[in-house]
């Protein structure tokens, strides 16, 4: 399963929130531990390596 972790994204109008997208579906939004300072860049990650 490939997750997409967005730091400081603007999805659902929540500016600056971290967003975890799993298989194309928003799975989590808010402050996600381990999101890192990616400055809004998109990064494909393995969720296990993030938590």
């Amino acid at each position: 399963m490939t997750d997409l972790l967005l730091k400081g994204a603007n999805l659902l109008g929540d500016k600056g929130a971290d967003v975890l997208v799993r298989d194309g579906v928003i799975a989590e939004i808010g402050s996600i531990p381990g999101a890192g300072e990616l400055g809004g860049r998109q990064l494909t990650v393995d969720r296990k390596s993030v938590v």
Partner: protein, 322 residues
């Protein structure tokens, strides 16, 4: 059924689907009365929160709520504070602070309804989230097919079109599979979702790139019992998914010629389309208006099914509180 939200077709068991469809049949009887009113949801407030355009879904949810005596209010993205930059979370928290009972939500982001369900106490009904799911559409399609075909056990349903952008297809393969139907989905390779092979193996449906081979299978047992055409969603396309509209119609449209050949074998073959239709692109006018077309039946079933969904999610609480 003791469910609070309806977010995904995968949440519903076979028994729950049957229960909703049976209730919808009763609600359909109400729809045919002169006075279409039930007191079931008196005192309940249902908010239709639509951030994407809708004709059928929004109006049928509004009618369903009103016929069941709920107070229904429509809010659209353009007319709400989201157009001023308010986040979805703040919008729904604000609405729910007014003690509403249910939010019917359509949003362009896949997963938006799941997020809202985590933030609010009200029941949340997914009325379409991005390219993810549209569970009430799948229920009304199943209801329409059941009205036409009886039990769907072992029936072969062919779904054709823009699968890559279709939330209707995603919900339908789950719901029709629950009811025992065999589903084959057909699309050009560019409009097949990535990873569909694994997904088809998991959920038990077949895929094909060849519409004619699927429609006119050599074995009668493999021929379709119903055909559902899906809209080409040009508004969600960012690139060229097929060379020309004419080429798409030639390869994947339900044309007059294909309809005539289907009718030669099965004159009463149900033809479905969730709407809105691109006449002349994915479906010809002859097919849309054919005697066996179930497209307006789907619209009619939409109200009954959404009444049933509101009943199952909200009426139990009402009865418990009474």
């Amino acid at each position: 059924m003791t469910r609070k939200h309806l977010l995904s077709s995968a949440d519903l068991s076979r028994d729950e689907v049957d229960s909703i469809l049976d209730t919808a049949a009763s609600m359909h009887d109400v729809q045919r009365r002169d006075v279409k009113k039930l007191p079931t949801l008196r005192g309940r407030t249902v908010i239709n929160l639509f951030f994407e355009d809708s004709t059928r879904t929004r109006s049928s949810f509004e009618i369903a709520g009103k016929w069941m005596s709920a107070d229904t209010i429509n809010i659209t993205g353009k007319g709400s504070s989201t157009s001023k930059g308010e986040s979805l979370r703040d919008t729904v928290m604000t609405i729910c602070a007014m003690s509403v009972d249910a939010l019917v939500i359509r949003h362009s982001a896949s997963g938006a309804c799941h997020q809202v369900a985590q933030w609010v106490d009200a029941s949340v009904i997914n009325a379409g989230d991005g390219t993810h799911e549209h569970p009430t559409q799948a229920l009304l399609d199943a209801y329409t097919l059941r009205q036409r075909l009886g039990s769907l056990e072992g029936r072969h349903i062919v779904i054709v079109g823009d699968l890559a952008h279709s939330r209707v297809f995603r919900s339908n393969v789950i719901t029709l599979g629950r009811l025992g139907a065999r589903v084959t989905v057909v699309a050009p390779p560019t409009l097949m979702p990535s990873g569909i092979g694994d997904w088809a193996a998991r959920d038990g449906f077949a895929t094909s790139w060849d519409l004619d081979q699927t429609l006119y299978a050599a074995s009668p047992a493999d021929r379709p019992d119903a055909v559902m055409m899906l809209r080409v969603q040009r508004e969600r396309m960012s690139g060229g998914f097929f060379p020309t509209e004419r080429e798409y119609t030639t390869g994947y449209g339900l044309t007059r010629e294909r309809l005539a050949r289907l009718y030669a074998a099965t004159p009463d073959l149900p033809i479905l389309h969730p709407g809105p239709m691109n006449r002349g692109l994915e479906i010809s006018a002859e097919a849309a208006d054919a005697t066996s077309s179930a497209i307006l039946d789907q619209v009619s079933a939409g109200v009954a099914v959404r009444m049933a969904v509101l009943y199952h999610l909200l009426a139990g609480e009402t009865e418990a509180a009474a």
